[in-house]
Amino acid sequence: MTSVQDATVGDVVAEATYELTRDSLVRYAGASGDFNPIHYRDDVAASVGLPGVLAHGMLTMGLAVQPVVDWAGDPGRVADYQVRFTRPVVVDPATGATVSVVGKVGAVTDDSVRVDLTVTYEGQTVLGKAQVLVRR
């Protein structure tokens, strides 16, 4: 894979697949302090009209940047990271949910590389305008 120094527009620099389970959601709830019950209780999710228990949007955002961090070699090289939450990730109690991440170089300047993320679940994107600026 191309290095941060040698990156050019169009390079795929990050690729990963994550298997989310209900355990992942409970772990993230504890780690982040976000205990909204729609992320672990089916009855509460159903009562507010959701199709099931959802992954925290911030969990999806948090894992989606990880292959870029690994490519950059240092989480401290992430200068800016933004996403739009466009579709929820429903996590089945038995089978979980598979989230795929592909990061492609969208722009290169003297001091940074912009990596554009495509994050999908069941073939549909769940994050919009997901962009990571990596310091060179």
Partner: protein, 146 residues
């Protein structure tokens, strides 16, 4: 939702002391594999004082400012109708275990759009020396009654 919130800056929240085990717990929860977030020796070898938080760890600090906004009686925000629209973090430097961080929220925009309201909240997070670490920006969508 109260449009007069736009431009309002809330008082800084109590300082948040970043713990090494909290960073490692958060790193595992977001599937981080970087040794710099998990192993203090690796972090020190890379020039950091301790483990380096994953980028989205900033939300843990920001969260206390958002709670302040949602609890504001005059804001007119019904928590059960709030959906997270956008999120952004802009870093001067990464968060490192041992940092004592203070966050201050400003409401930068309040808009109405097709029966929903959108509020953009910007939290400036600084270290114990008052130096900027990261700005966290959230847009929350408050669904209308319909």
């Amino acid at each position: 939702m109260n449009p007069e919130l736009q431009g309002r800056t809330f008082p800084p929240v109590a300082p948040y002391l970043v713990g090494r085990e909290k960073v490692r717990e958060f790193a595992r929860a977001v599937f981080a594999t970087s040794p710099l977030s998990l192993d203090p020796e690796a972090a020190r070898a890379a020039g950091y004082a301790d483990v380096v938080a994953p980028p989205t760890f900033a939300v843990v600090v920001q969260e206390h400012t958002l709670a302040q906004l949602l609890a504001e009686p005059g804001a007119g925000i019904d928590f059960s109708r709030v959906v997270h629209g956008d999120q952004r973090f802009s870093f001067t430097r990464p968060i490192v275990a041992g940092d004592e961080l203070t966050a201050t929220l400003t409401v930068t925009s309040v808009k109405s759009l097709g029966g929903n309201s959108m509020v953009t909240a910007q939290s400036e997070i600084v270290d114990a020396a008052g130096e900027h670490v990261v700005t966290a920006i959230s847009t929350l969508v408050v669904r209308g009654d319909a």
